[in-house]
Symmetry: D2
Subunit: 341 residues, 4 copies
């Protein structure tokens, strides 16, 4: 089965499974006081070259909404791009867990929020005016919902605007590894050095087994966040298992190797698609996602041929390459598409 639906449909990395099995020896303290979990903060602090606090979380939606809940008062507003997952695809989780804060969706080329757009929006928001939701944070998705990647200078610029206005800065990194692989920079450069206060660190889409994490750079929010996570029912009792996953995920740069593999497949697929008439890539392929405009006839033909993908609108489909995908998948997709033409 050729399956390009999502990175969510992928298997679990063998290294991650093996670490979970190893963690299953004997009894262990619950709720994160065990030996495995206690390594998390140190290991991720090393990875990010600064002291961080790490909270394993079962879903990206929870990681985002809980992170944001520690960055805004309930009467606050959070800027994001209009295509942001938190705005369109999380069922109102941010509104729930912040106590009703407001997402302010902005336009932006390349499915990215531009610092200049943010800088223009803030002065019209009515800071200090009592009948206006108060700007409290900005959130970016890295890589974006359309597979593009913020460059470091773009992140730095957004961070500078945020800082100048007293806004906190959140990154939805459901595909952080894919973005990092594309950027080729350090995790530090891609996050706190650009001013990120808190990161939703994706793992599930890139070989994890339902384990993402919140990585906190701004220590002022850590204690508050810990209470919010527990209260939302997002503190696992047998914490050693997600902790083991997250450790295995970054061990020996597994996360980067897996992401590079997925990105590479996407680049290869894109190259082949560009040679086919009637196919248009809607966005540059910078990480592991491709968005194609095709005729409805072609889309139907692909679907009937057993190719799995998601429709994202009329004449628009999404293809996601996975760490466990193959060149063969690509060839079969390209072949099927050529047969339509």
């Amino acid at each position: 089965m050729v399956d390009f639906r999502s990175d969510n449909v992928a298997s679990v990395s063998p290294e991650i499974l093996a670490a979970m099995l190893r963690a299953n020896a004997g009894t262990a303290s619950a709720y994160g006081d065990d030996e495995v979990s206690e390594k998390l903060n140190d290991r991720f602090s090393e990875l990010f070259e600064t002291k961080v606090a790490v909270f394993p979380i079962s879903t990206g939606t929870a990681a985002n909404a809980l992170s944001l809940s520690a960055l805004t008062p309930p009467y606050g507003a959070i800027y994001c791009h209009k295509s942001a997952h938190i705005h369109n695809s999380e069922a109102g989780a941010t509104e729930l867990l912040t106590g009703g804060a407001k997402l302010l969706a902005l336009d932006g080329d390349g499915f990215r929020l531009q610092a200049s757009t943010l800088a223009e929006a803030i002065p019209t928001a009515g800071i200090g005016v009592k009948n206006r939701s108060q700007p409290a944070a900005v959130s970016v998705t890295q890589a974006t919902e359309f597979g593009t990647v913020y460059r470091l200078d773009e992140l730095d610029a957004i961070g500078a605007v945020a800082r100048a206005s007293g806004l906190k800065f959140h990154m939805d990194g459901a595909r952080f590894a894919n973005a990092l692989a594309a950027l080729g920079c350090s995790p530090a450069a891609a996050t706190w050095r650009a001013g990120i206060d808190v990161l939703s660190f994706g793992c599930s889409k890139n070989g994890g087994l339902n384990a993402d994490a919140i990585v906190v750079f701004n220590h002022e929010i850590t204690e508050d966040l810990a209470f919010r996570i527990r209260r939302a029912g997002h503190t696992w009792s047998k914490m050693r298992f997600p902790a083991a996953q997250l450790l295995a995920y970054v061990n020996g740069d597994l996360y980067l190797r897996s992401a590079r593999r997925a990105n590479e497949l996407a680049v290869n697929l894109a190259a082949k698609l560009r040679e086919i008439r009637g196919v248009r890539l809607v966005a540059p392929v910078e990480a592991n996602e491709l968005f194609l405009e095709l005729s409805e006839t072609s889309i139907d033909h692909l679907a009937r041929g057993g190719i799995l993908f998601l429709r994202r609108g009329p004449r628009l489909i999404r293809l996601v390459c996975r760490f466990d995908g193959t060149e063969d998948d690509i060839d079969r997709f390209v072949l099927a598409l050529k047969q339509c033409a």
Copy 2:
């Protein structure tokens, strides 16, 4: 290490791990549309002898608070025993996820809520009176926080009182298997036949790997609940893994066999403790938990001797027996305690 701290410190059952590994073949639809997850409703409907809807959930806290969120308006009130986990040990999760409903904690012998207490409380609640929180549900913990078990006639009686007043009925079954093993009745008799609308079905404490479930008997709430779960970030993307766990957990009555083993250890330990002077069991041992009153000297002696347990107050400790515990643990505990005396 002799570890009686909690059933949360236990390992994962081999059968459950094996099922997870099997689920890791190939790609699978996300968010519950995969083949494994799609078996859940049918398998649990068979188990409960009625049509149910099953939602895998990462923690018992989330299972409880989300279940209750579908049973009460935000201005509602939920009756529970004053020792209930939802009231004392879930960080206000119910208040968060219900939008601010109120827990009304009642007294009750044996750490159980009595139907008569509930029947007396309801008429004083001011049903229809606009400045009073409106009774909407009752929640029982089975087995209770102190290891006692509601008998079927007690559940039936509470269900009848609830029904007569239009209240919904929730069971926090974090240790449902242990209670069922103690009762020796069918899952149906212990739940919907007594009027339960929705059950928090524990698995993590009894051999699962961070997978509990909400089991819905009252179909009026299923759709609403599905949205609430997603919005709280409690819908896993790779649902096949928790689904595989839950299926393995009930396959061949593994859940009951594991619970019986834990209960048996508790009974054996209790029998031996009753023969030791200066030791008092605070509650009857009906499931897998024991609460002991001991001198502070004895408690210190045990702790220094490397015995792991939790303090629950001055002179009060809790011991929890696990499905993966041993008779040897018991003997070592008894020996250590005798040495204090």
Copy 3:
């Protein structure tokens, strides 16, 4: 002082004050069980030619947010025009009181939401899709934030679209009387006959003393709404006083007479402004508000000359005519403006 800042700066109608004074005789039941309050439902049912429930409310913000809280689940979405007061100027009250529902702001000519725009938006919202906020209601502002008025056929069309998709229909009638005066139709035609479920019925801006009302046409929500209002601290104890105001407000069509007076002043002012070079009316003057584009020099000149008005953006000011305004105010404004030119 020539004061065009808002209808909120107006005095209280003598008839309304007199009614409050009359209500102050002897003791009276609290929370709406008094003789004056008990007349409200009947009187407004007569006015609207259908059975309604009326809840006096201290602010329009509360009237809107509470009305909406009874129309949407917490995971719901509410469509409105992008200029809507509930979206921009109520500090997130709707998000708070609905438990985190989402406002979906749509474009629309004339500062009005078009039925066709709504009809196009709904199918893209993902009804039934669990990770999307679920469309639950549509809200229109009558008259709009820019002083334009929905025609009856426009309301009917929106109501039809809403009904076809199972959405509830709310009207923010902070300036309902001004709109009704402009339309020249019955209150019934402008509300429930177009499908309105619940109306925020403004009074404070048109001669009331901090008394607006929620008028409920859809009886399914009345009981739920009553609890929500009380819980939000919006049920006055001495209800007879706001009730007396609202009765006086509709008695002998005072509300319409006051609104007609304000609208007439606005029309007269608009006519005179159209004769002045360099002045542009941004929106048609259909109720009691005018929005003018002027040079910054002119704006400064007016402000220095003691004319009171609100700035609404660069080169943009708002003028609001009041029931207690005068032709003299208009003449003085026009004179001042001519002096700038």
Copy 4:
């Protein structure tokens, strides 16, 4: 009609009405920027002998819940007496407006919370423990729901316990004037000198027209609270009218004179009741409320005789004396009661 139901059934003081009428001259800025409202902070700062911020609020329920919302995180807990109005009679307003904080109701003699009870409760609350609601504030009702009054030394002691544990201190002063009249001390001594951070300052029950106030002593919360009040729809547009009421209420100590009158009536009534056999006062009469135990026959007789009062349980009635009550009311009540005996 002899009416002892509540101080909510009272008329409005002539001085307060007159001030509202005076405030109705000309136009005035909305939302508190007018000349009358701007006097509030200074006038109340003078009254309380310290700099305060004053927010007029339409109900006591809102004043309480909003005050508390600025004192606790959403995962916080608030201690109160088990008879507290916020716990039993405000429809869950505190739970709504705090985002789901928990009220922890404690026992206490004389319907008052004792400092020692609070001091014992705090260490068992699990401060810093992530699955426990975190103690954030304590709230006292002055005068209490049963008409008793906290002495200054009692308030000081509670304040000291609160301060020692980092808890904030709120006073529900729905009948603050009655308590102050009973204590005979300064407003300062009864509030911030005892450590009160924020006071719900009642006026409606003592001659106001639906105008209470929040008085803030702890300036750290003022800005946050201002946003919360606006967002809850509790910021009046025509603020000059409630402001005028509050100024008139404290002008020339009207509030104290009214409260003394009501208290005096209560004392006189109590004295006469003590001479009647079969009548028991449930609580000492320290302010303007009396709670009587009577036979059901007597209660029925009184009700049939046109005496108005509230039942508070089997054989228990409440009588409230008002600033506008009369000695004649008392005599008629006593006469009616003697006729039963």
